[in-house]
């Protein structure tokens, strides 16, 4: 007697939708993982097929780990989608301590009824972003929640990286006299997402700046004879430049004075913000960094940043001052001076 060959009807990525069985751990779940996730993310560690990935330990340096939940709405926006964003966001969080990102994990929480075509698009975008960044997604998880209990898909990613011994880059290291640099124009991500919001749709050519910044960070570190002259790196995501600078000022117990005229903002972003009553200083970025460094290395760093495609718009925007109140102040283009405060309330919902 001959056995019939196992036949599995392929997942219908054209018209299919996520149902509860995709999260039940049965055959449907296994098939989705094989045909979609494992296929797209494909790498030697994922091939191990364990619950956890066994990874080679870096020979030297310190481990850096960061995690980020992505709940953005809408899932697709000009310049990107939740997939590539979830890779960039975590790669950047790891990179902001000066580390080289090595591995990522991804956990998906998917709402029942979510179109498989959209899921496929998101996963493929994520895979492409991970490949481009050179950081493999080595382990993952999928869960399905009942309709109405999620918002399409949420993606949590965790990243592990390695930082050289001796590097000391964190939010507590800002010193009086340090110079504040920004890697490029601000506000594109927030405005791009906002342009799709219900009741607010407007046509724009503005695209999200979402990008992985670790190669820019490595280029900056390599340019410095003594990398300890780089004190703080931060990506100004939610809350924008203003909130990020306030966080650093509080952590380091210093003040800051920035110059509005030096802060790069695209004219179309400025125009959109003007119409919507937003301040570009508070609008989110996903592909920009802020660097605080010793004054003597400013020129070296700016040259290195501007030579990198993600830093060609780098500018010096201000200095760190002594201030027990930890105020971030700004000389306005107009000629006055004001506080640049923490974001209060929210400017827009679920942008990352």
């Amino acid at each position: 007697m001959t056995m019939k060959k196992d036949y599995l009807r392929p997942v219908d990525f054209k018209h299919g939708r996520i149902d509860m069985t995709h999260g039940a751990g049965g055959r449907a779940a296994a098939q989705l993982i094989d045909e979609l996730f494992a296929h797209a993310f494909d790498n030697e560690f994922l091939h191990q097929g364990h619950d956890g990935a066994l990874l080679p330990f870096p020979a030297q340096g310190r481990l850096v780990m960061a995690t980020d939940g992505h709940v953005i709405s809408p899932l697709f926006f000009p310049g990107g989608d939740i997939g590539c964003l979830s890779v960039h966001g975590t790669v950047n969080d790891v990179a902001m301590s000066g580390a080289k990102p090595l591995y990522l994990s991804a956990s998906f929480i998917i709402e029942e009824g979510f179109a498989l075509a959209d899921l496929k698009r998101i996963v493929e975008s994520m895979a492409a972003a991970a490949r481009e960044a050179g950081v493999p997604i080595v382990t993952g998880d999928t869960k399905v929640v009942e309709k109405g209990k999620g918002d399409g898909v949420f993606i949590c990613t965790t990243g592990v990286g390695v930082a050289s011994e001796g590097l000391c880059i964190d939010g507590r290291q800002a010193r009086v006299g340090d110079v504040i640099l920004v890697s490029g124009t601000l506000g594109e991500h927030g405005v791009a997402v906002m342009s799709l919001r219900e009741s607010l749709e407007f046509e724009t050519a503005i695209e999200s700046d979402t990008a992985a910044l670790h190669t820019l960070v490595q280029a900056m570190l390599q340019a410095l004879p003594d990398p300890t002259a780089l004190h703080v790196l931060r990506d100004p995501t939610r809350g924008g430049l203003a909130t990020t600078l306030n966080e650093i000022a509080r952590q380091s117990q210093v003040g800051m004075v920035i110059d509005e005229a030096a802060i790069p903002v695209l004219p179309q972003v400025e125009a959109a913000c003007e119409l919507l009553g937003l301040d570009p200083l508070y609008v989110a970025n996903e592909g920009k960094l802020i660097a605080l460094c010793a004054p003597e290395v400013v020129d070296t760093l700016l040259v290195a940043m501007r030579a990198h495609p993600l830093g060609h718009g780098a500018q010096r925007i201000g200095v760190v001052t002594q201030d027990p109140n930890c105020f971030v102040q700004m000389n306005t283009r107009f000629g006055g001076r004001r506080v640049v405060d923490w974001l209060s309330g929210e400017q827009l919902p679920r942008i990352c």
Binding site: R333, F334, G336, V339, S344
Partner: protein, 379 residues
């Protein structure tokens, strides 16, 4: 954007600042009230106070629509959404105005109330048409600038027979508030609030024109300069007020002539008067009951008036005892004079309405200007 940048140009600002400094008389003090929250915001955001001579003082007026919204009015909205189960649509700012029992619309939303933030009154009407099974109420607030769009949606709702839509009307009028301030004991009798002139409303004046202010200039001998919201407008407006004071003149001048005409937008005024009529009295936060200072919906549109439809009755609720919003809105006190300012009352957790909107005197001062209260090492 070029258009906007020209009104924010630093070189021109320094030029006007130098003119103001040259023209003020050292022995004279100049106190000007900017009525509108938009001006308060511009003054704080661009650091204009720091560019004025020490004897030119700006007094923030009551022209911030959410600041003057009394607790009792927000309570009406909260009751509608929590007890009557309506879908309540509102502009963003009223969401955080503190109401009774520690509630606000945003807190009511967290408790499951259906509160929707909209960008325009038309969005609220749209929601009503898309949800015919729900009662949709638009919480309409604001001065003359936001009144015409509310008039339009009420007219449209009637024309399209959208019977599940109604408006909780809290629209207020600028001229009556200015009269109220000028008639107040602090200005007339005690002189505790010296007002030497007004920076007149910008957007409000586009609708009502410059004529309604002529009465103040004549009757109360106060110069009024209608001024745009851009920082250069404000600087120029201040310079024009300084000149009127120096020359002993008190007339209405129009700095914002690129959009404000003597008669205003007649088409908008007509729409407003078709739908609204004067309210005999309306409570303002900080000013109390002010006669004929607000609008109500005409009987012809009663079916779209939430107060009639849901039989709502206004009850006045006193502010927090230590909250100085009232005195701040009348120009009697400054934000930093309030014990709650920057301690328990913060933009994240406002106790008083002036801390809610970025047009509010307290929020503007907290967010942009509070470093002036403390000696700061400058860079």
């Amino acid at each position: 954007m070029k258009y906007i940048d020209e009104f924010r140009d630093g070189d021109s600002a320094r030029h006007i600042a130098a003119n103001i400094a040259a023209e003020v008389r050292p022995d004279t003090s100049y106190s000007f009230m900017e009525f509108c929250g938009g001006h308060t915001h511009a003054i704080s955001r661009y650091g204009i106070s720091g560019m004025l001579p020490a004897n030119v003082r700006m007094i923030h007026g009551p022209g911030c629509p959410v600041c003057v919204l009394p607790i009792g009015r927000v309570d009406l909205a909260i009751r509608l959404v929590m007890e009557r189960g309506v879908m309540l649509c509102t502009y963003g700012d009223p969401m955080r105005v503190p109401a009774s029992e520690g509630l606000s619309l945003i807190k009511a939303k967290a408790r499951g109330a259906d509160v929707r933030m909209v960008y325009s009154a038309a969005d609220a009407l749209d929601l009503a048409e898309r949800h015919p099974d729900r009662e949709v109420v638009f919480f309409a607030i604001g001065f003359e600038t936001t009144t015409p769009p509310t008039a339009l949606v009420i007219r449209d709702a009637k024309a399209r027979a959208v019977n599940n839509f109604s408006v909780l009307c809290c629209h207020v009028l600028t001229p009556s508030a200015i009269t109220h301030i000028l008639e107040s004991a602090e200005v007339r009798q005690f002189g505790t609030v010296p007002i030497d002139g007004f920076i007149g409303p910008a957007h409000v004046s586009i609708i009502i024109g410059s004529q309604p202010y002529e009465h103040f200039a004549e009757e109360y001998r106060k110069p009024v300069v209608i001024t745009g919201f851009e920082p250069l407008d404000v600087m120029q407006g201040i310079l024009m007020l300084v000149r009127q004071v120096n020359e002993g003149r008190a007339v209405v001048e129009n700095e914002f002539s690129r959009v404000v005409t003597p008669k205003g937008n007649l088409a908008a005024q007509k729409r407003v008067s078709q739908v609204f009529e004067l309210r005999e009295s309306f409570e303002w936060r900080g000013l109390g009951e002010v006669p004929y200072s607000a609008l109500k919906i005409r009987p012809a549109y009663a079916a779209w008036d939430a107060e009639r439809k849901f039989d709502l009755h206004y009850a006045s609720v006193p502010d927090h005892k230590q909250c100085e919003c009232g005195a701040i809105l009348r120009g009697v006190k400054r934000p930093a004079d309030c014990k709650l300012f920057g301690t328990v009352c913060m933009p994240e957790s406002p106790m008083g309405s002036c801390m809610v909107s970025n047009e509010g005197a307290c929020a503007a001062h907290y967010s942009y200007g509070r470093f002036r209260d403390i000696a700061v090492v400058s860079a």
